[in-house]
Symmetry: C2
DNA sequence: CACTAATTTAAACGTTTGTTTAAAGTTTTT
DNA sequence: AAAAACTTTAAACAAACGTTTAAATTAGTG
């Protein structure tokens, strides 16, 4: 995980971990400095303010979050395979970073549109030509004719929610961490089966 | 929405609105008092502390949140119909209270198990005999044989996520509020079709 | 009306917050 | 090696925080 040993990188790494698990308002500058093993003033020496550091972390996390998705979008394989791999990779990514979806949703809701536009994610998605592939697949009657937003919602709902709602589902069903992990492995199969079956009814 | 005109109720109502939209750490006692139109000290006069008031709000919201679900569980109708109605009622409830799922998930993750046990939700679900109905439906080959946790995850994922992830999906797709609302109406139909088709393959 | 209890307010409490300052330490440059 | 620039620290800053206090106001009771 540790990419760099510079002071700046130490602060950013510490901030990333703490911001993701506690949110912007849930932690203090001193807590970040302590986690990085240094003085509070250094946080503002390298990054102008707590808010500025936070914006940098959010951008970084968003980039990492979308990168894995866009990589799959770009790959030159049939849409059905791509759908399977997407679900697979999402569960893989989220198993490693289970707190990221909740972090993004909660903290992105506070930001305005201009902040999001700076990230330039939409363009990257467009360049992946995934929309064209879906349109083509729907035209030849392979994929069910559903608008792109709903497809996105179906995929993300079934991939992200199990990680987002982990504490709630664990409480309701009295499941320990390792039990919930096992549940997720099973659930991924159901999700794949259901989504493939629905989006590609002929297969 | 205003149920009562007593000072205590005013504070609780104000606290509920602010806590739900900003979270525990995202607001101050003075902000709650101002929203309720009174002095800060009254918050601690009627409710011991900010934390205590918060616990009361969380409990109240959780109760309201689960009540609508359990009502459907209890009703004496076939499981397929119950599934349709469940999705319908969830979308209806969440359209009115779109911030509640995110609130519950975020803030419940900070609480420990003992807090949840006080709410006594598990017992209410058990009394609804929904598990027995599912088991029976699976036994006669009507419902696909899937464990109860995954069924719950499938239902909740596809109902809650579209509301939880609203800001993110809106940003990615450049959708205004009213456009997203229309999207949700369409999406609910897809979700219903997909889930019914998957859970009850013979129909 | 007088008296008591409950309610509401303004003010202050000690902490903690994000941020800044100024000095000390370290590295780089000349 | 001296000077300049960069890095790190301890200390302090004002502002905001949750909470408490004590006085003022209102409501209830005989």
């Amino acid at each position: 995980m540790v990419k760099d040993h510079t002071t700046e990188a130490k602060i950013k790494d510490a901030a990333r971990n703490i911001f993701i698990s506690k949110g912007f308002n849930g932690c203090t500058s001193r807590e970040i400095a302590k986690e990085a093993g240094m003085n509070v003033a250094l946080v503002n020496y390298y990054f102008k303010s707590k808010g500025h550091l936070f914006d940098i972390v959010v951008s970084s996390v968003m980039k990492e979050f979308t990168l894995s998705m866009i990589d799959i979008f770009k790959s030159n394989i049939p849409l059905i395979n791509k759908t399977r791999i997407f679900i697979d990779k999402e569960y893989e990514f989220l198993s490693k970073h289970p707190e990221i979806p909740n972090f993004i949703i909660t903290e992105l809701g506070k930001k305005d549109k201009s902040f999001f536009e700076l990230l330039d994610i939409n363009n990257e998605i467009k360049e992946a030509k995934i929309f064209e592939q879906i349109e083509e697949s729907q035209k030849i009657g392979e994929m069910r004719k559903i608008d792109i937003v709903s497809i996105m919602l179906l995929m993300m709902s079934n991939c992200h929610f199990p990680f987002i709602a982990k504490p709630m589902v664990q409480m309701i069903n009295s499941l320990k961490d390792d039990e919930y992990e096992k549940q997720l492995v099973i659930h991924k199969q159901y999700v794949t089966e259901m989504i493939i079956g629905y989006l590609f009814p002929t297969k």
